[in-house]
């Protein structure tokens, strides 16, 4: 266990000093995008990998978070920390409300229903022009600023400061995620994934835990969306495009649903890969489709699942 903590700390230290070696702002931008997609992917991973529910609404809550944050900061001049929290709790609140009917559905209808929610969000953002300005989007979102009493205000505007901000955020999310999965709550989640009827018969209040997981997952997607809005400084209805869902899906499935570090690896692969391939959007999504298709047939547990199985086997051989 000590070794593992040491490993985590050294990885963190490595990422901490990374900007000091003089990375280009383009590389920093990629790393920031990896961070954002990592949080979004873990939000999806919580549902499919640990509760066993395929929720296609994850990227909808990403957009809801972005819109809440953008609207608050533009119309009410709300400070960034407040916007950020409001986006997280706002998304969680929406999820808590729509989750009650959705989670009553059979797993088939749940998939279709969550997709419908994403489409409704898209329609609302396009047509509620008095609030969202429709397809024109909301430009001019301010960069994150922190006002701590007694200290000068910290403005996160440069790429390096954005990088450190998302690094801290990712660490917090991952720490929270690992703790959550190891807790009583996480065990309840996994029992639902493995066998819902059995879990129910053992006294696990399955519908309550499914609802909790849906809400927590949406909180994560909401804060990722909020930060995304304050990084790109612009939000429009394209945030509800299926593209975000597709990228999240491929990250989690190829990375390994139900493994934390596999999904981290997936986020790195699928943010960097297209940059190397330098592909146009259409061809990229065709290739992504093939990767997803091959992955679901050949490595259904993903990269993380394969590594976990190897480790388990080695431990069994040793023991």
């Amino acid at each position: 266990m000590k070794n593992r903590n040491l490993l985590y700390l050294s990885i963190l230290a490595l990422f901490g000093v990374l900007p000091l070696v003089g990375l280009s702002s383009y590389t920093l931008h990629l790393l920031i995008m990896i961070g954002i997609f990592l949080i979004l992917s873990q939000s999806f991973n919580l549902m499919i990998g640990y509760v066993g529910l395929l929720s296609l609404a994850t990227s909808a809550f990403f957009g809801v978070g972005a819109y809440i944050s953008a609207l608050l900061s533009l119309h009410f001049n709300t400070s960034f920390p407040l916007c950020f929290l409001a986006a997280g709790f706002g998304s969680a609140l929406v999820a808590a409300c729509v989750g009650i009917p959705f989670l009553r559905l059979s797993k088939h209808s749940f998939v279709v229903g969550t997709l419908a929610f994403l489409l409704i969000c898209d329609l609302v953002s396009r047509n509620w022009t008095s609030v969202t300005r429709g397809p024109m989007g909301l430009p001019g979102i301010p960069s994150p600023r922190f006002h701590i009493p007694g200290l000068p205000a910290i403005a996160v505007t440069s790429k390096v400061s954005h990088y450190y901000f998302i690094l801290i955020l990712v660490c917090l999310v991952l720490f929270f995620f690992v703790k959550l999965i190891d807790s009583r709550l996480g065990r309840a989640f996994r029992s639902i994934r493995d066998d819902e009827v059995l879990a129910k018969s053992m006294g696990v209040h399955t519908s309550k835990y499914k609802w909790l997981a849906f809400t927590i997952s949406s909180f994560m997607a909401g804060i990722a969306g909020s930060y995304y809005a304050h990084y790109i400084l612009f939000v429009d209805p394209l945030i509800f495009d299926l593209y975000y869902l597709e990228v999240t899906l491929i990250t989690v499935i190829v990375g390994g649903a139900g493994t934390i570090w596999g999904v981290v690896a997936g986020a790195f692969i699928f943010t960097i890969l297209p940059e190397f391939l330098r592909l146009a959007g259409g061809l990229r999504l065709v290739i992504y489709g093939f990767i997803l298709l091959l992955s679901i047939h050949l490595i259904p547990d993903g990269i993380g699942g394969i590594i976990n199985n190897r480790l388990k086997r080695r431990r069994l051989v040793k023991a």
Partner: protein, 287 residues
Amino acid sequence: MLLQHLANGLLISGIYALVAVGFTLIFGVLGVINFAHGEFYMLGAFIIFFFAGQMGVSYYWSIPLSILASLMVGILVERTSIRPLLEKSFESMVICTFAVSMILMNGTLLIWGAEPRIIQSPLSAPVSLLEIAFTYQRLLVLVVAIAISIALHLFLQRTKPGKAIRAAAQNKEACQAVGIDIAQISRLTFGLGIGLCGLAGALVAPVYSVFPTMGQIAMFKIFAIVILGGLGNVKGALLAALILGLGESLIAGYVSATLKDGLAFLVMLFILLLRPEGIFGKAVRTL
């Protein structure tokens, strides 16, 4: 004006019905939510564009070619992607068909580009009946949709393969006990569903413009229809297609065009909230 809106709505209903029936049959027999279903409809329309618009084949000959080509792609997809996963979890099948949809849609986008295409049909001449403006093409769509619906109903009720399909949707073990080849019935159902999609695409191509995302847009409506009619319920799907098509047309005509697309999802949400088994479905206890 009311008659005109009803006529337009009936046309849309016909298209929805052709696509939705296949979707709901495939769900009933294979237990697969086919996210790629709408792409076969799109493919049917684009193959018509390829033959009639680019190769200069006559429109009538293009229709069977289009159905055949969609069927070939469908069989390829079934063989390579769907059949190996039938025994696996439901979620992996959803992801699989989602991936197929990504490939087909973006592949079409790469080949033919994003701009909407117009296809000329020899039946584009306008016709007026009881003050309803129509084209012969629209009339053809309507007639074929109704004929196919009736034929399908007779096929499912009267013929042996049709009865086998209904039986497989009800109870697979019992089917095997009386000697029905489930694998064969699954293939037949999938082919039937995809063929209907190809036909719908081929018929609709000269009426509306053809573009790569048309399959996705139709797919979302189809979801609403099968939820409304009850997943796996053929009669429910036909009725729901009629309701949604007419409803959309009336709302577009009398309220607003933007609300038209929202109707499907609002209806879907309310059905999911109040009657998750669909309005025509039997109540099933879910976990």
